[in-house]
């Protein structure tokens, strides 16, 4: 059965919801939060990518490889 899914790609937070019986139901992320920070981080040492809350938590120590508010940059030359 096909389902309708909606993604709100926000500047600071993103949210995903699915239509369930005529009502939109927000899907929680793995950490149990209904919204996920729109932040992505690349770890140099570990060759790992962080998304959401963990990426936001390490932004201070890894500012050069942490991307946030990326919506403001989309389409810029």
């Amino acid at each position: 059965m096909s389902r309708v899914i909606g993604i709100d790609l926000g500047t600071t937070n993103s949210c995903v919801a699915v239509m369930d019986g005529g009502q939109a139901k927000v899907i929680e992320n793995t950490e149990g939060d209904r919204t996920t920070p729109s932040v992505v981080a690349y770890l140099k040492d570990e060759d790992r990518t962080l998304v959401g809350q963990p990426a936001k938590r390490q932004a201070v120590s890894n500012p050069e490889n942490t991307l946030f508010s990326i919506k403001r940059l989309i389409g810029r030359k």
Partner: protein, 201 residues
Amino acid sequence: MFKIVDKDKMKNRSNKDDADQSVDHQDVEKQETPEDQSELSVDEQLAKSQEEASKNWDKVLRLQAEIENLRKRTLRDVENASRGSIERVMMEMLPILDSFELGLDLKTETIDEYKTFKEGQEASMMLMNSLFNKLSIETIDPSEMRYDPGLHEVISTQEDDSVEPGYIIKVIQKGYRLKERLLRPARVIVRAEKNKKDSPT
């Protein structure tokens, strides 16, 4: 192509003996009989299908109503469950709150009075820790450990040669974890990366 095939078929048929032909006739007769029956009972069949359709439609409506009721009941159950869990935790918290309140009523003018107050506070804290154990809440105190973005939040970075890069210098605020779920990350100061300006990115 098709014509040739047809001719071949005709040839094959002409070669067949009379017995085979009689079998063919029987087959035709057999095919005709059910058709006749179905033509006779078209009205009956229609009535039967209509009855079946209305039965199925009734079933669909009933199931739909059942699903709607189930959804409402589930929502109510979830609300009750969350209220119930808050109540249970609060019931466990109240004696600890009483203990802290008793401590606040104590006089702390002399050293002995202050010592009694402090012992009381420590006892209350022990109660709190035992409650945490009971609720499977784990304290995250990562002093001198390697920084982990899954559990710790960097407040700032500092240069400190006594600690390796990527390790925690100081814990500003402890974190808490409920089983696999992080309640609050530990807020920490991390050793700054060496040669930061030399890195290409």
